[in-house]
Amino acid sequence: MVTFTVEDQEGNRQTIEAPDDMGLSLMEILKASEYPVLATCGGMALCATCHVEILDGQDELGDATDAELDQLENLPEYFPTSRLACQIRISPLLEGAVIKLRGEDN
């Protein structure tokens, strides 16, 4: 299990514990935790509705990949710390990270 912190659009923080051996993505865990993540494309890095910012832990998790940047570039606003949650595997690298939700909800 890994433990990390999620900050919602209103700034409320919650600690989340997730299994790191089931091949899940951060997007899937956020949805399962009832966060308003649309994930329109289902996890193919094709829609950017699971946009998050890595407030803490970016050194471990790394920068956005090319596929993510292709989508982030389309957004009116993104940041050097931006990632797509669907492209982040739940792994020990997430331990202690702080994730801020940026994706749009309805």
Binding site: L38, T40, C41, M44, L46, C47, A48, T49, L69, D70, Q71, E73, N74, L75, P76, E77, E104, N106
Partner: protein
């Protein structure tokens, strides 16, 4: 006014297959979709991605599935209104509906089927204070008719393929085209990016890189835009139009106001026939919810078949419905 038996809102895979199921029962369909093409998210978001869980197809590309569905429903001559959003439903005394779009297209139908997927794909809007003030008065989120921009000054904003493609296209139409992009480089198709740099180098367009939209100005109609560069320098450009192209994002949209029971952005339905709480309105595919719901295309197909058999009584109130197999009766075109 367009008259039809069934009006299907949403022309994604499930809306398209619903035409087939309706056609077998001799019911005609008209489809409305806010996207300019059929296929819903399959065509809009992942046309080249393979899908592996369509029965009978070990693997099929999303766009190929859409093309096949269009072939399959051809005998039933569906009609389409694309690029328009359904805004109002008005119930008539005889129980039928008049559906009105944002462009004032009207459809008279006996039954409404909402196959709206994740909702309406709305353009993402830049965060600008008085943006709504200029919408339709200089700010446009899509190029519906390029002639609108003939001999006008146009500013496009964005760095994706559509920003590049429209910049190239409008360079030959508008009086002056300016493309504003927040970075130094483009991630869109390399060919298009090269062409945009060529146009800029040859003085055919103005290319402003490393800059963001900051402020819109005008008296009733857009007349100028203030930009801010990365090093906080400001620049004002006179323009007739601003076209921000930051991609699309699904929103539930006007569906939320039609008196249906909505749970977490989905319409609650009765699984006996996928009817909503409102008489003659059904919801199928990703837009509906019920205990055990799976958002799969194949589940939407199943829902379409059952739903159309239920809707038959509204279109042919005096006839008795008899269930028939296509293997026995074939597909009898209209």
């Amino acid at each position: 006014m367009i008259t039809t038996d069934i009006c299907i809102i949403g022309a994604g895979p499930v809306g398209l297959f619903a035409v087939f199921e309706a056609g077998l029962l001799k019911m005609r369909c008209h489809l409305i979709d806010y996207l300019p093409q059929v296929g819903g998210q399959l065509s809009e978001i992942y046309p080249q991605k393979p899908i592996y869980d369509i029965p009978g197809y070990p693997e099929i590309k999303a766009q190929e599935l859409v093309d096949n569905l269009m072939d399959q429903i051809k005998p039933f001559k569906p009609t389409f209104t694309l690029g328009e959003r359904v805004d109002h439903l008005a119930k008539q005394d005889d129980g039928s509906f008049i559906i009105t779009t944002n462009d004032n297209t009207q459809v008279h139908a006996q039954v409404i089927v909402i196959a709206g997927g994740l909702g309406v794909f709305e353009p993402r809007k830049p965060v600008l204070e008085n943006l709504d003030h200029f919408e339709g008065k200089g700010v446009a989120y899509m190029v519906k008719n390029p002639e609108t921009f003939r001999n006008k000054k146009v500013v496009l904003a964005g760095g994706g393929d559509s920003a590049l493609d429209w910049t190239i296209f409008l360079a030959n139409v508008a009086e002056r085209v300016t493309l504003v992009h927040r970075n130094e480089t483009f991630r869109g198709a390399p060919d298009s990016a090269a062409k945009v740099f060529d146009l800029a180098n040859n003085g055919k367009i103005d290319l402003i890189l490393s800059a963001n939209l900051k402020e819109l100005n005008g008296n009733g109609k857009l007349s100028s835009i203030k930009l801010e560069s990365k090093n906080k320098e400001e620049l004002i450009i006179d323009t007739d139009y601003l076209i921000p192209l930051f991609g699309l994002s699904p929103k539930l949209g006007p569906i939320a106001n039609w008196g249906l029971n909505i749970d977490k952005n989905a319409i609650e339905v009765d699984t006996r026939d996928y009817s909503t709480g409102v008489d003659r309105i059904y919801a199928i595919g990703d837009i509906n919810t019920y205990p055990g719901k799976l958002k799969l295309i194949l589940c939407g197909f199943h829902e379409a078949a059952i739903m159309m058999h239920s809707a038959f009584k509204y279109v042919y109130p005096d006839q008795k419905l008899s269930f028939k197999y296509t293997t026995v009766n074939g597909v009898n075109a209209f």
